[in-house]
């Protein structure tokens, strides 16, 4: 339902001024090619600055690409960016347009501006607020709410006025588990009843693994992989991640530990190792016995996550994906 071909956008270089260094030219999206199918939850995963938001802004008609094409449900969005607003609902990262409205008025106004009649907008507003458990907060202004509640209210506004495509940019940021569950069950209901398609931007690995049907991994503006989460994880199935947390210093006097030092990514007292299963077993045996065990605070052994996939695929950022 959404086909993206050769989408490229370059931010021009900024010349430095006094006190502020210039930035070189940046390819925010670099020849991106994607196909999103009807009714699926398609994810864009990548660390901050990978080009996720820039890509989404081009898909929603908010930004013109330098070259390439975007077609959603048969409409050319690059040539007719105004049509995007009649096909999709967009939840951006900013709520400043709605901040001073009450939850109820934010949802109703958004519905009206999405072309609903007054009565219909009020009915949909009530239904959506009820569905998301926001009815008790309906009379409160958004900016008096907590971050997660405000996010949920913006999500409610995005749902008023049915659209076949929902584009959600980090929808569950700062939400508690109850609110997250409300979001995903609302999404699931719309998929089941209307075949709604969802494009989700996230840097949260756990969420990506649990809710996405397929995921495109972005790095420095390029799609470095695109598959189901389990399909991607099979690419690194031969590896196991071992995390070792030392009490203080790593016991480098133990020869087996010293030998691991070069292969470990150290972050404070934590060492992260990516090993073949037999190697991992040997390492665990070493550190759980003898002199090394005395220096060990904690260890975990885990199967690979999408973060490991990202790193194995050559993702440049060593950090930036969230596991929570």
């Amino acid at each position: 339902m959404c086909a993206v071909r050769g989408l490229t956008k370059t931010y021009p270089a900024v010349r430095g001024r006094r006190g502020a260094p210039g930035t070189p030219e940046v390819r925010a999206t670099d020849d991106v090619r994607l196909d999103i199918r009807r009714g699926e939850i398609f994810g864009l995963l990548g660390p901050n600055g990978a080009g996720k938001t820039t890509l989404v802004r081009q898909l929603t008609g908010l930004m013109r690409p330098d070259s390439g094409s975007v077609e959603i449900l048969g409409h050319d969005i690059v040539r007719h960016p105004d049509r995007a607003s009649r096909i999709l609902a967009y939840l951006g990262q900013e709520s400043s347009a709605l901040d001073e409205l009450t939850v109820s008025l934010a949802a109703e106004t958004t519905g009206r501006l999405r072309g609903l009649e007054a009565r219909q907008a009020r009915a949909e507003r009530d239904a959506v607020l009820d569905e998301l458990g926001l009815t008790p907060l309906a009379g409160r202004p958004l900016k008096k709410l907590s971050g997660g509640q405000r996010r949920l209210a913006c999500f409610a506004a995005a749902l008023v006025g049915e659209r076949p495509l929902l584009v959600l940019d980090e929808p569950t940021t700062a939400m508690d588990p109850v609110a997250r569950r409300a979001v995903w069950s609302a999404v699931d209901r719309r998929r089941a009843e209307h075949g709604t398609t969802v494009l989700l931007v996230t840097h949260n690995v756990i969420e990506a693994e649990t809710v996405l049907d397929r995921v495109a991994v972005l790095d420095q503006g390029r799609v470095i992989a695109c598959d189901t989460p389990s399909g991607l994880k099979e690419q690194v199935a031969g590896e196991v991640r071992v995390d070792l947390v030392w009490r203080a210093e790593a016991p480098l006097h133990v020869p087996e530990v010293a030998a691991l030092q070069d292969r470990a990514v150290a972050a404070g007292r934590r060492w992260t190792l990516r090993l073949a299963p037999e190697e991992a077993r040997a390492v665990v045996a070493t550190v759980t016995g003898g002199a090394a065990f005395a220096a060990l605070d904690d260890f975990t052994l885990a199967t690979p996550s999408l973060e490991d996939v990202y790193l194995a695929l050559g993702g440049a950022a060593q950090q930036g994906l969230v596991k929570a």
Partner: protein
Amino acid sequence: MSVVPAGILSGGALAAEETDRDGAAELGPRARLWPSLAAVYRAQLSRARVARIPLLFVATFQSVGIMILMRGVVDGGGEAQSVVAGASVLVVAFVALNLLAQYFGQLRASGGLDHYATLPVPPAAVVLGAAGAYASFTVPGTVVTAVFGCVLFGLPMAHLWVLVAVIPLAGAALAGLGAALGLLAPRPELATLLGQLGMSAALLLGVLPADRMPEVVRFARDLLPSTYGVEAFARTFGPHPDWAFVLGDLAVCGGVGVVSLAVATWAYRRAAVR
């Protein structure tokens, strides 16, 4: 380089089933101008309860304070009329020009315009709705200032009804200017600065009696749209107002309003899609 697994391209689930004969799906409805203008207006008006009431007090007290100051300088007559008219229109300039420039400047800088830009709403509805709401915020302050000024300087209140025309027309001109400044300024601080400067100009050129000013300042005064609102209002304090001139001044306000709101709508379009 991009990687798209072969399974996607050869898979049978490609988007063909939901499209019609022309290959394109039906679009959702467009929001019509008047209903969406009303919705934006209502939403903006409700913001007053949360955020704007303290500022409305500031606007009114500022004008009242200026009139009290000028009481010591001006000794009634034509000068008193322009002081009262200038101070009343200053409330409109403070809210419609200054605050609206700040609002749109911040909305643009924070990405808040994306919300409107991804809804099928006519740009004019967003600009006119916000400008109309800000012009409405000025009504209580302007009326209070005008009544207080009449009492303070002993002016007749018989023709205060002319505010019914002065507020919307001066409001349209100044709110259009404010919205255009806010949407065109490359940075929000600059939008705030321009709004403040516009208000200072309305203060200096509108409240202070014109005949004591040098030629250059008087020319600048003629360029400022709020001047015509002030002039129109001031004329009505006389014993026999010349209504043709009042109408002429108000027509200038209205004309500037139409042009500046059109510019603001164009600026909104430009700011929304980059």
